[in-house]
Every structure is written in C-alpha cells, then in structure tokens.
Subunit: 104 residues, 2 copies
C-alpha cells in the first residue's frame, strides 16, 4: 500500500499540468493586502494559530488556492470567510497578492 | 463594504472556538512524515511550486487541515491526493505531523 501510494504521488507530481500564471507584482500585492493582514498578519504570520501563515509560501500554490476560493471549489474549514474575500479579486489581484506573500 | 468585511473578520477571529488539540510529538511526526516528503519536501519546502510549503506552519492550522482532508470536508485543488493520504491517519498521527512541521 505504501509503495502504491508513493508511485501514485510520483506520477501525480510528474504529470501535474504546468499552469500558466500571471506574473504578480509584489508592491501592488502589498497595497492590496490590508484586509488579508487581519487574519494572516501584516508580515504574513497569522494572527491566530487556526489561520495559516503565508510568508514565503509558494506563489503558484497561493494563486491556485485563491482561485479555488474564488470559484468556491475549495471547501472546508473556514473557507466561507475566504470565499467572501476572494469573490471580488481579479486574476491580477491574485497574482499580485501571491507574489507579495511568496516574496516575504 | 470594506469596513463591513473588516468587522466581520474581527468578529470571526474573536469568536473562533478554542479547539482542544492533542499535544503532538515532533520526533514521532518526523518518523511518520516519509510519505509527506514526496510532495512537501523532507525539510517542509515543497518539491513542486503547486504544493504548499509546510515548514513553520501553525500546528493548529495543520491539524485542522489534515482532519478536514480526512473527513473529506476539505475539497478543491489537489485535495483528492490528500484525502487518500489522510484517510488512515489517527488523531495522534495528525498531532505528531503538525508538531513536526510547525517546529521546523
């Protein structure tokens, strides 16, 4: 079972589609991040232990997460809060925010 | 709208229930983390930019995320991979893994 799982994961990693992502602007992201800081901290370190730190997180992961919140594909936990936050974000907003947090 | 959102978030943060979490053992977590390292890296830095880094992430957040994967409450993105990984984890396994990654 463990071997099967490892093979499955290796295949998934190898076959992950290369998603084309917008090039984010971290300065613009900083300017757009005021509301994020309420929970995720002005420095990307969450203000509550139940929230994730974002500082240094992978930009590509952050973009996919924000887009999945925006589309409400991502469910579970406190996702309802993030659905509300992401609803009005453009692709450019998301790329900028991802670049800002990834660059910390 | 922005003001309303800020108030909503502040209320949500203030009223977040204090979840009672098991005390994880980072050494035990390290021993259980071999399969996680395939994607999230032996050092908690993801092997692919589409996966999240886990090093230094909040233990409480990691526990809630793993439990939400285990129950399949968490959906979206590559969650199917994590559903399979988390399915066989006990609460103690989850606490140990969370302590391991949070302590990095």
């Amino acid at each position: 079972m463990k071997r099967y799982t490892a093979i499955l994961l290796a295949l998934a990693a190898a076959s992950s589609p290369q998603v084309l992502l917008a090039e984010g602007n971290p300065e613009a992201g900083k300017a757009k991040s005021a509301i994020c800081a309420t929970c995720h901290g002005a420095n990307g370190i969450a203000t509550m232990p139940s929230y994730p730190n974002l500082a240094g997180q992978n930009a590509e992961y952050l973009e996919s997460a924000l887009k999945a919140y925006r589309s409400k594909e991502r469910q579970g936990g406190l996702s309802m809060l993030m659905h509300a936050q992401a609803a009005s974000l453009s692709d450019e907003d998301i790329a900028d925010l991802a670049a800002f947090y990834a660059g910390m």
